[in-house]
Amino acid sequence: MATAAAEKLAKPETADLAALAMRLGDDALVLGQRYSEWVGHAPALELEMAVSNLALDLIGEAQLWLDLAARLEGRGRDADKLAYLRDVLDFTNLLIVEQPNHDWAYTVLRHYLYSVYHRLLVEGLARAPEPAFAEIAAKVLPEVRYHVKFAHSWVLRLGDGTEESHRRLQAALDRLWRFTGEMFVDDELTTRLEAAGFAPLASGLKAAWEEEVGATFKEAGVTPPQPKQMITGGRIGHHGEHLGHLLAELQFLQRAYPGLEW
């Protein structure tokens, strides 16, 4: 009886679950859109196929999370409306995923840094007490694991490649490092979800992430820059200038021709 009461108290608020699904969907959508930008520009044909597949996986994942977010919020929106008709300030993605692609080293390193976090997060959610979350997490997990494998092999290849590839990988790490802290920032939402026994704290993923990426850096022969102020704010809608440009392209068709289907 006491247990049942405690469980009832601990049940997470629907609005919190919707917000979490939105975060997951926004990360996947924005990064998927970034990969779409590589199509036609990747360094080799095989990499064109790789980035377009990464984009497909992520946009497919975004659709699942945003559909869930839309169902939970119950405001008559759907995944398409959430993707195409929200303004910049309503997006809750991490800043790391909205950064422009720069070169290939930056792209694959970003994919590695994000994918290890992404995998840890969905591994945790696959055990979530809420079936809707657990089934989406279990569904995307094999793909996310594959992403980590792919990105990991590229980090090693560039780090251990030529002088130029090594230099570019190190430069990418220097640029990206300050966006990694945001993945592990706890806020009111993650704190409430953790208290409800729903999901681990964001900070709870940090040690495993650091251990895994640290081992890879060592093998690739690169070092993160000295710790400095991490840049955060994406989760509460404080974005850089880049997201607006990305959304302008992503949302153009629905904004110009509302309700258009094709």
Partner: protein, 172 residues
């Protein structure tokens, strides 16, 4: 007597539902994957079950393969069209995520057809690290060219014996 009649009718209804499921299944065996037109969606293990919805409509429950596979929506339409063509209507096609589809669900028949078509079939998950044999010459001396191929389900490999490039249905 009434009870016996009731049972009899129930038995008939169950048999009819079973017949409908068998007919649906037979039709779905002719619905090919749009990207790999030699394997049917049944071969791929996408058909989860056929059931009767609360409203009496026949429901076809499918497993989506890869999350972002653009064929998912096409397949839904192909299934609806094929069943309509066969006079089976009304039907509802529904995707169910859990448990997640795995390449382990691809039938023996499906694996054989993939290999004949030139696509190395996926190993069972427990043997995921087994060498990938060339579907043309059978050599196990092959190398990975790209982790991703022309569709999300495939990787690109090359045979070091006959030198032919080929696709590999990734173990998933």
């Amino acid at each position: 007597m009434a009870a016996a009649t009731g049972t009899g009718t129930g038995g008939k209804a169950a048999a009819a539902a079973g017949d409908a499921a068998a007919r649906v299944r037979a039709v779905l065996e002719t619905v090919m994957d749009p990207e790999i037109p030699v394997v049917s969606i049944v071969d791929l293990g996408m058909l989860r079950r056929v059931e009767q919805g609360a409203d009496g409509v026949i429901e076809v429950v499918l497993s989506p393969t890869y999350t972002g596979c653009p064929a998912t929506d096409v397949i839904r339409r192909l299934v609806e069209e094929a069943l309509d063509e066969a006079g089976i209507r009304p039907v509802r096609v529904r995707y169910e995520l859990s448990p997640p589809w795995s390449t382990d669900w691809i039938s023996e028949e499906g694996r054989r057809k993939l290999a004949e078509y030139g696509i190395a079939p996926p190993a069972l998950k427990e043997r995921a690290d087994a060498p990938v044999a060339c579907p043309r010459c059978g050599s196990e001396q092959t190398e990975l060219v790209s982790a991703f191929g022309s569709t999300p389900c495939k990787a690109l490999r090359r045979c070091l014996s006959c030198l032919e490039p080929f696709e590999h249905f990734k173990c998933h």
